[in-house]
Each structure stands twice: as structure tokens, then as C-alpha cells.
Amino acid sequence: MSEDAFNNPGWAGNTGEFDLSEDQVRGDDFVGRRPAAGGHPSGAASYPYMLADKNPEAVLFEGDYKERFEKILTRYPNKQAALLPALALAQEVRGHVSPETMDRVAELLELAPAYVRGVTTFYTMYNKAPVGRYLVQVCTNISCNLCGADEVMEAFLRYTDTEPGETSEDGDFTVIEAECLAACGFPTCVQINSRYYENVTPAEVPRIIEHLRSAAAGGR
């Protein structure tokens, strides 16, 4: 990172503003808090959150989530096309996509369970196993790598005391390497749950971890 303060124009605020709330990051004055039912059907497939609180036993789908799922179905010529949005929605509710979840989604969309497994495992964003409250994805692809992404990755592993893909003992963190997150001008880019943290340097990692830890403690 060069000496002059290099402002980040994105949702993550200025460089170092890592303690913004989710609402501030999302631009609450414009987007606002999204209803769980998904708002207008045109965007119903575009609001899957990766939430800190997960409920692996939740019913797929009921209440507002059922409403959102039904809105999604109206936007495609067949049920199969709703598979990716349905998996994302299931992950929002349950936190990961277990084989049982895949089977349930198959049932809902009238698809063969084996087909759904084949598709789910093709994509990296569906967590096939449970992850911590915070899934930390560090981009280590070329543009970030040139600017020290490997060191940022090491710092996250060191301060969470984990190996890549392993969940910390307190259940708060899972740290993995990610491929290019399309924020190459703001290296290193780190995606933590739904949010991008940009211009992250190894020195800033402890503060980010502390911030998330206290948020996690508040949520418990």
C-alpha cells in the first residue's frame, strides 16, 4: 500500500473503514434492508445473503422464504432454471448445502436428486460442508497476488489459528482462498460472508478479526 491515503469508492468505505455496519456497507439510504420475502420478483433471485446465524435444520421453504422461492419460480420458463437461485436461497437459510438439502431442492423443483448433486458440486459458492459464522475468502489471484495477497491469507490463518478450509474452535471463522473477486484495483480483496473488504493489508487483519469477533459475541 502506498503512503498516500487511497480512498476506496466502494461499499467498504474508505481505506480502513472496516467497522462499518452491514447497512452502511449496503448503502442503506438507497437499497434499504431487503425483506426476506424478496421484494419485486425481478430481483428475488438476487438477494441471497451469507448470514452469520445459520439454521441447518430449517424447513425448505416456509414463511417469507417460501414467498421468495415462489417469486423466483415465476421468472423462468421452467423449474430447472430456478435451481441455482434455489440453492443460494437454501444456503442463506441453512448456511450450507448438505446432501439432504440437495435432495429437498430436487424434490421442490421436480428434478432427479443425482442431477442436483451434479450441478451443486460444479459451483464453488455452495458450501458443501458447514462453515463458521464468518466465511473469509481471500482473493489470491494475480492482481491481488502482485500486491501481497499471500501475506493477507497467511495473516487471516494466523489470527484465526486455522488451516485453509478449517473452522476455528469457537466456530467463528473459516478461511479459504478465493479466485478473482473482480475488485482487482482494490487489492487485496477479501469477501467475508456477503461483503467485500477491499485494500486489505496484513497489518489490518487483526482489527478486522477483532471487529468480527465482537460482533459475533454480540450476536450470541
Binding site: S46, L84, Y123, I142, A182
Partner: protein, 430 residues
């Protein structure tokens, strides 16, 4: 908060609202003349819209550079089946970060472009396929879309014109290959994002088996401006064969990385030294990847005379791609960076074609071995042989893309490979 990536050399057409949070509101967009191009297009008729875009010479901004108007003209003129417009917002090419900016700062510009394009190709449904990681971006886009629906700019009988066009924001599941247009269509249909054999081309058999057109976010964002001002106006920038402006995504070892909108044909060295404030810490330039990780890298000598348009970059020995300029300084470990890129392709290979599935993984192993000082001089020839077998032998170009940095780096930075290999041998003997 001012947008920091500004240079007085810029021509801000698509990016004029970057840094202005007000611009994403529908009322502000309308005040600035928003959705007037759509109205004009509805008055022109679909074929005149296609002709205007053809006249502008707008080329696809997703990497291939195919003329957008020509692509649209492949769609049937008398629809017998539903047509689809697919906006490619998968933005997954390492080094590229322009579409996210276009969507989060000026979502209505993209929506208007989608509507005009859909009208021109006689599509009633648009899918904006966004990469799954773009949670924040897609929320802005979806909010803007919701507002546009509420005011009758999208949906049934748009502004009383009798035209029905729906737009849906769709999210991917995290797969680079879904940025390839036929992979995108498969993914949209709820399949694995594996590319399809062409022909049939999407204009004949596309998404859901129907005639479809796939355009990049930046291409579609340029369309309202072209319709408003006319094709010849767009040609005031750029070159004869590459007209217009382009968002250059500059990353890596420069003082001010970022998105800069400049005329096509802009000199590469001026982009680095002038627009981006020069090399970080005053270091010397070693290499540049001018178009995202899928194109051959250029050494400093080749960068010197290179102009950034489709033909200019080709003449210098690479491709413009999506103008994702990745800059590397003198201290860059080329072998490590090439290994990282190839490892990416190995991770993202869809697994359909043997040369790609096996080749990318094998190349990664060899490069890793060289990087760790356990390489052999024969390895370089093996890599070159494999590259040859991986080029032009597969359904899509992912395999070719993986080979490009390997071949170009061995040609241009062979001494770095050899130093690592020979040091390794000495270590082995001792």
C-alpha cells in the same frame, strides 16, 4: 466522497456517474436525460436501432470484440419463438473489475441499454447473469430495477409504447466458465456451466433452446449513448476499426490502479505513466498483461509502442481482451505469477475436454515443481508441447487461455525459468 480514479485524460461517457451515489436513483437518472434513448429507440423501430449500433462500430466489450450491431442482426427478424437477451455480468476474468463499477454506480444506464437491445433483437425477456459474489452490486441493481418497474420503464407496455420487456437479475454460483456465453446459457438453465459446441450459434439455438444474444455489461451500457447521439458521434473517439471509449481496468504495481475511461487506441505507456501515476515506488516495468489473465504477456520493450485498441495490442503480440491491464514491476516473480494463473485455470476447467482438464492440472504441477527449485530443463519443452496440444483443441478457449501466459512467459522470460531450474539442480546435486 469523490471518486479517486479520475484523470483529466479521461473521456467519461459510461463512467460519468462513478462516485456519485445520487446517480443510482431513478429520479436523478431521469433528470439527467435517462430513458430518453429508450423512447427514441421505440420511435426508430428495431432495425434502425441495429443499424445505428452498426454505424457506431461498437465492439463487444467482453473480450472477443465482435461488432455488437452485427451480432444483433443475426437474430431472426420475424420471431416464431421467444427471444432472449442475456447480459453477461459474470465478470470473472482476473484483472477485470469494470462491470461491477458500471452496475453499482449507474444501474439504470445498464437497464436502459438492456431494454434497447432487447427491443432491437425482439426479445421480451432479459436475464442479467451476475456472478454470485456480487451481493452488494446485485442489490443495487435489483433496487434500481424495482424502481424502474414501479414507474413503468420495465415490464408490460413500457411508457405506453405497447412494448413488453421484462428484466430478471440472476446470480451464478461461482464458476469462471459461466462467463463464456454458452456456459452462461447452460448455467442459466440450471445446468453445470459447461460450454456448448458451436454451431448452432446462440442466435439460432440459445438459452432454453431459443434464439438468444449475449452482450457484456459495458457493451450494453454504451448503447443508450449511441442511440441518443447517433453512431457517427461515437466514432469521434478511438480508431477506424476500434471506435469509441473503453474502460481500462488497471491493476498491479502502479500508483493509482483503477478504472479509467479513455478512447480506444490510447498508448499503453501513457496509461501507466500518466493516467495511473507511474510505477509504484518508482520501480522499472517488467511485464504487462494487457487484457486479463487469458492473453499473452508483453515485456517492457513490447509495451513501449503499444496502443490499446484491438488491432494495436494484436500487433504488439497479445490481445486487448477486456482491457484489463495488469502491470508487473521489476521485482515480480514471473514463474510464481504464471503458476498462480494456470492454477486458476486448473481450478476453473469445467472438465469436459481432456486437453484442458488434464493439461491445466499437469501444467500447474510442473510449474509448481519449477517454482520450488525441483524443475528440469526438459520441463520447458514439455510445457510448450502441452500448450500446443491445448490450443484450438477444445470446445471453448479456457484451455487456450491457460496456455497463453505459459508460452509467452517462456518465450520472453526464459532466463527466469532457467535460473530457478539450474539453482534447483545445484541444490539437488549438493
Amino acid at each position: 466522497m469523490a471518486y479517486p480514479y479520475v484523470s483529466d485524460r479521461e473521456v467519461r461517457v459510461l463512467s460519468k456517474n462513478f462516485g456519485d451515489p445520487a446517480a443510482r436513483r431513478l429520479d436523478a437518472y431521469l433528470e439527467r436525460g435517462g430513458y430518453q434513448a429508450l423512447k427514441k429507440a421505440f420511435g426508430m423501430g428495431p432495425d434502425a436501432v441495429i443499424d445505428e449500433v452498426k454505424a457506431s462500430g461498437l465492439r463487444g466489450r467482453g473480450g472477443a470484440g465482435f461488432p455488437a450491431g452485427v451480432k444483433w442482426s443475426f437474430m431472426p427478424k420475424q420471431p416464431t419463438k421467444p427471444h432472449y437477451l442475456l447480459c453477461n455480468a459474470d465478470e470473472s476474468e482476473p484483472g477485470t473489475f469494470k462491470d461491477r463499477e458500471l452496475m453499482r454506480w449507474d444501474p439504470h444506464q445498464l437497464l436502459e441499454g438492456c431494454l434497447i437491445a432487447a427491443y432491437a433483437i425482439r426479445a421480451k425477456q432479459v436475464y442479467i447473469y451476475c456472478r454470485g459474489e456480487f451481493f452488494e452490486t446485485t442489490q443495487i441493481l435489483a433496487k434500481a430495477l424495482e424502481d424502474a418497474y414501479a414507474k413503468g420503464y420495465v415490464g408490460k407496455d413500457i411508457q405506453g409504447s405497447g412494448n413488453d420487456i421484462d428484466i430478471t437479475v440472476h446470480l451464478g454460483g461461482g464458476a469462471y466458465i459461466c462467463g463464456e456465453e454458452t456456459g452462461l446459457m447452460n448455467s442459466l438453465e440450471g445446468r453445470r456451466g459447461q460450454p456448448r459446441v458451436k454451431p448452432p450459434f446462440p442466435a439460432a439455438v440459445g438459452a432454453f433452446g431459443m434464439p438468444s444474444t449475449v452482450n457484456n455489461v459495458e457493451t450494453l451500457s454504451a448503447v443508450p449513448h449511441i442511440i441518443t447521439h447517433g453512431g457517427p458521434w461515437y466514432r469521434q473517439w478511438g480508431t477506424e476499426k476500434s471506435p469509441g471509449t473503453k474502460l481500462y481496468c488497471v491493476s498491479g504495481h502502479v500508483n493509482r490502479p483503477g478504472n479509467y475511461e479513455l478512447p480506444l487506441g490510447f498508448p499503453l505507456m501513457e496509461l501507466i505513466n500518466d493516467v495511473c501515476g507511474g510505477m509504484r515506488d518508482g520501480k522499472a516495468l517488467k511485464a504487462v498483461i494487457p487484457g486479463g489473465s487469458s492473453v499473452p504477456l508483453l515485456n517492457a520493450e513490447e509495451c513501449a509502442g503499444c496502443n490499446l485498441d484491438y488491432e494495436g495490442v494484436q500487433a504488439a503480440g497479445s490481445q486487448l481482451g477486456c482491457a484489463s491491464v495488469i502491470v508487473m514491476d521489476e521485482n515480480t516473480d514471473i514463474v510464481k505469477q504464471v503458476r498462480r494463473m494456470v492454477a486458476f485455470y486448473a481450478h476453473e476447467s469445467c472438465g469436459q475436454c481432456t486437453p484442458c482438464r488434464e493439461g491445466t492440472a499437469w501444467m500447474t504441477k510442473i510449474l509448481k515443481r519449477i517454482e520450488e527449485g525441483r524443475g528440469k530443463e526438459d520441463d520447458l519443452q514439455t510445457l510448450l508441447d502441452m500448450s500446443r496440444q491445448m490450443t484450438g483443441t477444445t470446445i471453448c478457449v479456457l484451455s487456450d487461455s491457460a496456455a497463453a501466459p505459459v508460452v509467452s512467459s517462456i518465450q520472453k522470460f526464459k532466463d527466469e525459468y532457467l535460473a530457478l531450474i539450474r539453482r534447483g539442480e545445484r541444490v539437488g546435486v549438493a
